[in-house]
C-alpha cells in the first residue's frame, strides 16, 4: 500500500499540486469575501433598522436550514440563467461558497460583538464618543478576542468544504483525486494522498491562527 501511494505520488504529483492550488485559492477567496460579507451582515443584524434585521434573519435561516451541497447546485443552476454574462461553473461555486460561509461568519461576529459587556458601550457613550468610534475603538477591539477563535474554526471548515466543488469538476484537490483515480483505478492510494494534503493544510492553518491569537492576547492581556 505504502509502495503504491509513493509510486502514485511520483507519477501524478503535479495533478495533486494543481488540485492543492485550486483548493488554496478557492479557500482564500471564499474566506476573504465571506469575512467581509459576514461582517456587513452582522452589522445589519445589530443595526436598529428593523427591516434589515428581518432580511438578514430570513437569509440566515434559509442558509442554515438547507445543505451546502444543495446550495451549490442551486447557484450552479440559477446564476447562469440570471446573470447577463457568461459565468463559469467555478464562478458559480465560488459565489455559493461565499454566500454559505458569510451566514456563519455573520453569526460568529454578531455573537462576538454582543458578548462585549454593555457597560463598555455605556462608558464610551457617557464620554460623548460617537457610535462609530464606540464600535471601532471600544467594542470591536474587545470583540476580536471573542470572534477570532470561532472564526478560525469557521475558516478551517471552509477549506474542507471547498472539496464539495469536486461535484462540479471545479479544479481543486478532491477533483484531482477523481482525475487520478479514473486514470489509474487506484482509488484508495490517491484518496490517501489527497487526505494527507488536506490534513497538512488545515494543520498549518490551525497553528497559524493559534500563533496569531496568542500574539493578540499578549498585546492586550
Amino acid at each position: 500500500m505504502v509502495d503504491s501511494v509513493v509510486r502514485l505520488w511520483q507519477k501524478y504529483y503535479y495533478v495533486f499540486f494543481n488540485g492543492l492550488w485550486g483548493t488554496l485559492w478557492l479557500s482564500a477567496v471564499s474566506v476573504l469575501a465571506a469575512t467581509v460579507v459576514g461582517a456587513l451582515l452582522a452589522l445589519m443584524k445589530l443595526s436598529k433598522i428593523r427591516v434589515l434585521d428581518m432580511i438578514v434573519n430570513g437569509f440566515m435561516a434559509v442558509i442554515r436550514g438547507t445543505p451546502i451541497l444543495l446550495q451549490l447546485y442551486f447557484f450552479w443552476l440559477l446564476l447562469p440563467k440570471i446573470v447577463p454574462f457568461e459565468m463559469s461553473d467555478t464562478a458559480c461555486i465560488v459565489v455559493a461558497l461565499i454566500v454559505n460561509a458569510s451566514s456563519y461568519v455573520a453569526e460568529v461576529i454578531r455573537a462576538g460583538i454582543q458578548a462585549v459587556d454593555s457597560g463598555q458601550t455605556e462608558a464610551a457613550k457617557s464620554l460623548g464618543m460617537s457610535s462609530v468610534n464606540t464600535m471601532t475603538r471600544i467594542v470591536l477591539p474587545q470583540a476580536i478576542k471573542n470572534i477570532l477563535p470561532a472564526l478560525g474554526n469557521q475558516y478551517i471548515m471552509m477549506v474542507k468544504q471547498t472539496s464539495l466543488a469536486s461535484v462540479f469538476f471545479v479544479p481543486e484537490l478532491m477533483t484531482s483525486y477523481k482525475t487520478v483515480q479514473s486514470a489509474t483505478f487506484l482509488a484508495l492510494p490517491s484518496l490517501i494522498i489527497v487526505g494527507v494534503i488536506y490534513f497538512v493544510v488545515t494543520t498549518v492553518l490551525t497553528k497559524g491562527l493559534d500563533i496569531f491569537e496568542r500574539r493578540l492576547q499578549r498585546s492586550e492581556r
Binding site: 455605556e122 462608558a123 460623548g128 492586550e220
Partner: protein, 246 residues
C-alpha cells in the same frame, strides 16, 4: 447655591420598562456647583433617574433640559452634550484593552480633537491628582477595584464636563477601598464641580451633600439639606429608610 444658574432641569419625567413604571412624574432642578445625593431603597428608581440625565435611558415622557437644551428631543445631537456630562459607573467600566493613560486620552483626542501631547499632559496631571501616576502604562487588569474607579473618575474629568453623575460608585468595592474613592469624590465636590450621586454611603452623603433627595417608588418622596433629612425627616418613609440604613 440657590442663586446659581440651573444646569439640569427635569420636567415631568416618566420611564417604564415594559409594564413596570420606574419613574413617575419627576420634576427636579440641579444647580451649578451643587452636590446632590440621591438615596432610597433599591428599586426606587435612583439609578434610572440618573441614567435618564444623560439619556443612557430614554425617558418615555417629560423633559431633561441640560444647559437650555432638551436632551430628550430626538433632533438633539446627544453625543455632543454627553461630552459635558461625565458619568462614573458602579462596575467602573474602564476599557480593558487600553492602558490607563489611553483610557483617559481616547475620548478627548477622538471627540474633542485635543492634540495627543496636550491630552497626555492633562491625563498625567489627573493621574497624579488621584495617586495613579505610577500606573499610567499599565492595563486595567493590573489595578485594584479602587484604582479602577479612580481611573474611571479621571477619565470622566478629562472631558472637562460641567457635571458628573456617580451611579453607586463604591457599591462594588471591597470595604477597604471605599475610602480612597470617596476621598476623590470629596475633593471634586470641594473644587466646585456639580455632582449628582446615587449612593448608599450615608455618612458620606451627609458630609458632602448640599442637598439630599430621597426617592421611593419612582417618585421623589422628600428632599432637603442633610441636616433637615437626617435630623427630622417629614415623610415617614424617609424616616423608616434612614432608621434602617444608619
Amino acid at each position: 447655591m440657590s442663586d446659581n444658574r440651573v444646569l439640569i432641569r427635569v420636567e415631568n419625567l416618566h420611564k417604564s420598562f415594559g409594564e413596570l413604571k420606574v419613574l413617575k412624574d419627576i420634576t427636579e432642578e440641579i444647580r451649578e456647583g451643587e452636590v446632590v445625593t440621591i438615596i432610597g431603597p433599591s428599586g426606587s428608581g435612583k439609578s434610572t433617574f440618573l441614567r435618564c440625565l444623560n439619556m443612557l435611558e430614554k425617558p418615555n415622557g417629560g423633559k431633561v433640559i441640560f444647559e437650555d437644551v432638551d436632551l430628550s428631543d430626538k433632533k438633539v445631537n446627544i453625543v455632543k452634550h454627553r461630552q459635558k456630562i461625565g458619568m462614573v459607573f458602579q462596575l467602573f467600566n474602564v476599557f480593558p484593552h487600553l492602558t490607563v493613560l489611553e483610557n483617559i486620552t481616547i475620548a478627548p483626542t477622538l471627540e474633542k480633537k485635543v492634540p495627543k501631547e496636550a491630552a497626555r499632559k492633562k491625563a498625567v496631571e489627573l493621574l497624579e491628582r488621584v495617586g495613579l501616576l505610577d500606573k499610567k502604562d499599565e492595563y486595567p487588569s493590573r489595578l485594584s477595584g479602587g484604582q479602577k474607579q479612580r481611573l474611571a473618575i479621571v477619565r470622566a474629568l478629562a472631558m472637562e464636563p460641567d457635571v458628573i453623575l456617580f451611579d453607586e460608585p463604591t457599591s462594588a468595592l471591597d470595604p477597604e477601598m471605599v475610602g480612597e474613592v470617596l476621598d476623590v469624590i470629596k475633593d471634586l465636590a470641594q473644587s466646585g464641580m456639580t455632582i449628582v450621586i446615587v449612593t448608599h454611603e450615608m455618612g458620606f452623603a451627609r458630609e458632602v451633600s448640599d442637598r439630599i433627595i430621597f426617592m421611593d417608588d419612582g417618585q421623589i418622596a422628600e428632599q432637603g439639606t442633610p441636616e433637615e433629612l437626617f435630623k427630622n425627616a417629614k415623610n415617614p418613609r424617609t424616616a423608616e429608610f434612614l432608621s434602617m440604613v444608619l
